[in-house]
Amino acid sequence: MINLRIDDTPVQAEPGQTILVAARGVGIRIPTLCQVDALSPVGACRLCLVEIRNWNGRLVPACATPAQEGLDVVAHSEKLTILRRTILELLFAERNHICAFCVSSGHCELQDLATELGMDHVTFPYRFPFLPVDATHPKFGLDHNRCVLCGRCVRACSEVEGAYTWGFSGRGVATLVEADLGDPWGASKTCTACGKCVQACPVGALFEKGKATAEQVKRPEILAEVTERRPRV
């Protein structure tokens, strides 16, 4: 067992466990967005940043950093709240996240994070980009306006379904998730229409057709339910 401290609480972790998992084990909640159980961690959203006191206050993503002997982790502080809220504000400012008429309103991880982190408005200028909606798939839709580029759909598709339909195109704020090599989703030859990407998506970017405002409930936990039933190799 590895011994470390998180928010001054002594914590034990198994070798290979991340700081995030160790924190959860003792009931310390760290905000996350790109992390979902059963998918490999990527540390993309940076909302789970924690401070390591005995690494000179270095900030590391809790979801992608293994617990290590003797670590003195700060998971909650005024500074971390401000950092996380700033990251959240940048996410809101980057695309057109309009909760009021979103299929996922009331069941959205981004919306919940605003509540959790006390974001009452966005201090950065909104970009208001012009982005398309892909409604070519018979069962599902993709609204780039609501995408936070967490990559949960990309990882669910490759790691759990094994179809490798989703990928990223472009760089920085111009990044888009795309099916195959930029084909309309409905024309994808690799998509199995399993819907795991939709369930993995934390926001209203991927949705089931026919869902109206606030009707889209996601079940990202199905990914772990699938993988846990698989024989270990």
């Binding site: 009331g106 919306q111 605003a114 009452d120 966005v122």
Partner: protein, 175 residues
């Protein structure tokens, strides 16, 4: 103790926030005993008065008249409150923002005389519908589309008790 001078205004929004305000129901009686409503879409006063204590602003800023009025109101008001998602984020009115103003107006009105394209009988439409804090300093934010009556009441109660209203937890929720 003199009554709090309360005002409200409706810019680019649907009036839903004012409807939610009216949903305070019997609490409106208590409110009426503590505030003077000195300017609002629901009272018949045309000029924004001086020395307003609190202003609730519904809606985004979408044209030059709204921007001018808001700037004037700011000068005459102690506490300016962004009241609802349109005022806080731009919300529904900001759906037009990715589309160039002239292209949008031409798509709606066709060729010929287009109201709002230039300053005229109808105020000139701004290139984008903006949250009010991009125009003036805003002191408090009440998110929600619309903010539920209970959230408005939580805010007003703190205000009337002489505390600085601070919304937190489930009261900070967009949509």
């Amino acid at each position: 103790m003199s009554k709090v001078r309360l005002a409200s205004v409706w810019f680019s929004g649907c009036s839903g926030c004012h409807m939610s305000f009216l949903d305070l129901d019997e609490r409106l009686l208590e409110l009426a005993s503590k505030v003077d409503l000195v300017y609002s879409p629901i009272v018949d006063i045309k000029e924004y008065p001086d020395d307003v204590d609190v202003l609730l602003v519904e809606g985004a800023i979408g044209n030059t008249e709204q921007r001018h009025l808001l700037e004037e109101m700011r000068q005459k008001t102690k506490l300016v409150v962004a009241f609802g998602d349109c005022a806080v984020t731009g919300n529904i009115p900001s759906l037009r923002n990715p589309i160039p103003r002239e292209e949008l107006l031409r798509a709606v009105y066709g060729d010929g005389d287009i109201p709002g394209l230039e300053e005229g009988d109808v105020p000139k439409m701004l290139p984008q519908a903006m949250p009010i804090h991009t125009v003036v300093k805003v002191d408090r934010f009440i998110p929600g589309c619309p903010p539920p009556a209970d959230r408005i009441w939580t805010f007003l109660q703190a205000l009337l008790a002489g505390r600085r209203p601070e919304l937190a937890g489930a009261d900070l929720r967009f949509g």
